[in-house]
């Protein structure tokens, strides 16, 4: 009887499982295509829910950091607040101002949100590990040029922002759009160059292969900390988050490119930002932190891989919020200088060192970089501290009472 209770459902599940698999000769079956479609829908919805949860987390975490409560009325701990927000957005009047370019104005939010969401297609969220320790990643689309795809699609998102700013036909929106395009161009460069050493070391453009390489040879953050740092910073700039939120900076440009937007169009811009954050975090995890692997823990079951991946991604998303509520905003020209004069040369040197070390087979050279970087960081911190000591003395006080100014 017990056998029946366990074996029959298991066999039933296995047969369903097989129905979704590729045919034995590797050709596409209807079941396989349907399975992909269902998976796609599932993951898209997970992303949507995740970005809604991020809005909630942003508000709760910022409230926690600022010694206040945050939204806690709708649902337990305010968890249903995103739903309430969504309801508000849906029922708000969708104003299209008379002076806008209607076609572009309507298209812009879609152009922004779609690339942010389709980027998830190539990110491995879990996988299986065989006896030799070779990790096979699962993703929606197993592209051999995954890294290139990510860069290409990330570049598309800015069109929505720039077009939205331009089509709004408002000066503040235009400034926001112009800032966005300039910022994206400069930071995409650093972003791309930060991925190059990863490609060099893993020898593949496939994100799954990168995870596999890292699970066998150690995480890339250890040998490429500089690339990791630049990648993370650039992804902050890519997603328009503080300290790089020039395009929207609400106190200068009054929300910049989405000043003129309302209702769901505005919500789409918002969703795009949070989805882009999730993608940025997932990419940082995949490229530098071993993706869904964690020192053999992922061998237990593929669900553990999902868990590991989620925890890592959530940590980086928390970091996004953490940074936003801690530090002020850069100025536009300072941002450009940072991108072009610091990150770009740094990344070029990094690529040359990595390539040289790999070509000559000097693996010890790969370890010089992190050590040198650590040393430099301490040196710079010390210099900054010394400079602060010089500049920050107590202010002088005026002559004693009675003196005329």
């Amino acid at each position: 009887m017990m056998d029946l209770l366990t074996i029959v459902p298991a066999a039933f599940l296995a047969s369903i499982w097989d129905w979704f698999a590729l045919a034995e000769d590797g050709s596409v079956t209807f079941g396989w295509a349907l399975g992909r479609l269902l998976l796609l829908l599932l993951i898209v919805h997970i992303i949507l829910i995740l970005s809604a949860l991020m809005v909630w987390a942003e508000r709760r975490v910022s409230a926690w950091m600022q010694d206040r409560l945050g939204p806690n009325r709708v649902g337990p701990e305010g968890l249903l607040q995103p739903l309430a927000d969504l309801g508000k957005f849906m029922f708000k009047e969708d104003v299209i101002p008379k002076h806008v370019n209607k076609w572009m104005y309507t298209l812009a939010p879609a152009i922004t949100v779609v690339p942010a969401m389709i980027m998830f297609a190539v990110i491995p969220y879990t996988g299986t590990v065989d006896e030799e320790g070779v990790a096979t990643s699962w993703q929606i689309a197993n592209l051999d040029i995954g890294a290139l795809y990510v860069l290409a699609v990330a570049g598309l998102g800015v069109y929505g922002i720039t077009l939205g700013g331009w089509a709004s036909n408002s000066k503040y929106s235009l400034l926001g759009g112009v800032r966005a395009s300039a910022q994206m161009i400069s930071y995409e460069l650093s972003l791309g160059l930060a991925i190059v050493p990863v490609i060099l070391m893993t020898g593949s453009l496939n994100l799954g292969d990168m995870v596999n390489w890292q699970s066998q040879n150690g995480w890339l953050i250890l040998t490429q900390p500089l690339a990791f740092f630049v990648f993370l910073t650039s992804s902050y700039a890519e997603t328009n988050r503080l300290p790089f939120d020039m395009p929207e900076s609400e106190t200068e440009l009054v929300a910049g490119y989405h000043t003129e937007y309302s209702s769901m169009k505005f919500a789409l811009f918002f969703m795009a930002e949070y989805t882009a954050m999730a993608v940025g975090a997932a990419l940082a995890v995949t490229l530098f932190l071993g993706g869904w692997t964690f020192f053999g823990l992922e061998k237990i079951h593929w669900t553990v891989g999902v868990l590991i991946f989620s925890v890592k991604v959530l940590f980086f998303m928390f970091a996004f919020i953490w940074v936003r509520w801690t530090i002020p905003r850069f100025r536009y020209d300072q941002l450009m200088r940072l991108g072009w004069a610091i990150f770009l040369p740094l990344m070029l040197v990094n690529i040359m060192m990595t390539a040289g070390a790999l070509a000559l087979g000097w693996s010890w050279l790969l370890w010089i970089l992190p050590v040198a970087l650590l040393g430099t960081a301490f040196f710079v911190a010390w210099l900054g501290w010394k400079r602060d000591e010089d500049r920050y003395q107590p202010l002088p006080t005026s002559p004693p009472a009675g003196g005329e100014a």
Partner: protein
């Protein structure tokens, strides 16, 4: 006589000439490649209703024309028609971030008109109020400044502290915001001993809070590069524009009315007046931080040395009697009736009275021709004067810098537009 048919034409009359632009560029000046950007009066970082007409070349500002007056309520004229006693509630809305300081400076000015003086205890409590108001105003200024530059958390931190100050105001005056606390010849109510004790405890621990905000900002690399060298006001420029308050002291001029022409009981206390070295936004920020510490220091000294006694002067011809006396005493009832209905005979003459308000030197010039109302009342609003320097310091900076400059000048439009 019949009208010729051509004059009966049904065509519309010629269109009226196009209205003149409100703020014109220089005569014959075509903006060309530049863009005219209207910043305000509904821009979040113009702190109220300041309007700046900017001419920008890309992101760089070429020309800046401040346009004030959107909050004009005719405060001076109201004073001339209402009279001294009834004007004091209106001073709440001048610098609406420091109503207590406004109440006190108005009371000092009107007492000078009447030729009377408030009793010592009232003077000390006024000084305490002025300093608490300064702390509260600087806190809001700092928070809004931080928020404009992108550090939003500072705003919430300073508001927590400001909330405590507002609780003190409420306990003292019955109102958190529109305090209307000072009276000609003294104060509306006496301060209780417990209140003084609580305030002293707050001020003793205040420097710890200031340290927290300094940790967040003062040595923050981004905060520094956003503010150092931005909006430099040279010593000469500051003097020629007549800046006062932290804006003047940030430029290295150590002029403070409390120190140089002491009023109230300021001469009795030991405090420093911080002055900046470079005159940039960062120095103005540092000056404000230090001023808050010094204010706490003054309050502690004032509370320690507060005398006992009445808080209203015994000058029944000028001073409103206490309310409970009005209900029981014949003379008080008569005096109250006379003062409120405008039977007050002030000496003729012209006076100038000034005090150090949070934003700078607040001055009254009052011409009295007798009677219960000034013949002419002129209020020197520090924010109005401080804002004038914008058109000198803004050109050449980026749009983002304007926000930092506005935050560091720290103006209040209620006071500026009067």
């Amino acid at each position: 006589m019949s009208v010729p048919p051509e004059q009966l034409s049904t065509t519309a009359p010629p269109a009226p000439p196009a209205p003149e632009p409100e703020i014109r560029l220089d005569a014959g000046d075509d903006p060309g490649d530049r863009m005219v950007l209207n910043m305000g009066p509904q821009h979040p970082s113009t702190h109220g209703v300041l309007r700046l007409v900017l001419e920008v070349d890309g992101e760089r500002v070429v020309k800046c024309t401040p346009d004030v007056g959107y909050l004009h309520r005719g405060k001076e004229k109201i004073g001339e028609s209402l009279g001294y006693h009834r004007y004091i509630p209106y001073t709440d809305r001048l610098d609406y971030l420091a109503p207590l300081a406004n109440n006190c400076s108005a009371a000092w000015a009107f007492e000078k008109v009447c030729g009377i003086q408030a009793p010592p205890r009232a003077q000390v409590i006024r000084v305490i109020c002025c300093e608490l108001a300064r702390m509260s105003a600087h806190l809001l200024g700092l928070g809004a400044y931080g928020m404009d530059v992108g550090a939003m958390t500072v705003f919430l931190y300073t508001f927590t502290e400001r909330e405590r100050l507002y609780n003190f105001f409420e306990a003292l005056t019955g109102a958190r915001f529109t305090t209307t606390y000072a009276r000609i010849g003294g104060l509306a109510y006496d301060a209780k001993d417990e209140w003084l004790k609580d305030v002293r405890e707050f001020c003793d621990n205040f420097h710890k809070q200031v340290d927290i905000w300094e940790n967040l900002l003062t040595n923050n690399r981004i905060w520094r590069i956003r503010n150092e060298g931005v909006g430099v006001i040279s010593r000469e420029l500051a003097l020629s524009y007549g800046l006062t308050g932290p804006c003047l002291r940030g430029s290295g001029v150590g002029y403070d009315v409390r120190k140089d022409r002491p009023y109230g009981t300021y001469a009795d206390y030991d405090f420093d007046v911080p002055i900046g070295r470079h005159g940039d936004s960062y120095d103005r920020y540092l000056v404000r931080m230090e001023e808050m510490r010094q204010s706490a220091r003054i309050v502690v000294q004032a509370i320690d040395s507060i005398p006992d006694g009445p808080v209203l002067a015994d000058e029944p011809k000028y001073v409103l009697p206490q309310k409970q006396d009005v209900m029981t005493g014949m003379e008080q009832l008569i005096h109250q009736f006379m003062l409120i209905t405008g039977e007050m005979d002030t000496p003729k003459g012209e006076i100038h009275s000034h005090s150090e308000n949070p934003k700078g030197e607040a001055g009254y010039i009052i011409r009295s021709e007798g009677g219960a109302a000034p013949w002419r009342l002129k209020y020197r609003a520090p924010s109005f004067v401080n804002l004038q320097v914008l058109k000198e310091i803004v050109p050449g900076h980026l749009i983002a810098d304007i926000v930092a400059m506005l935050g560091s000048i720290d103006f209040v439009m209620g006071e500026c537009d009067k």
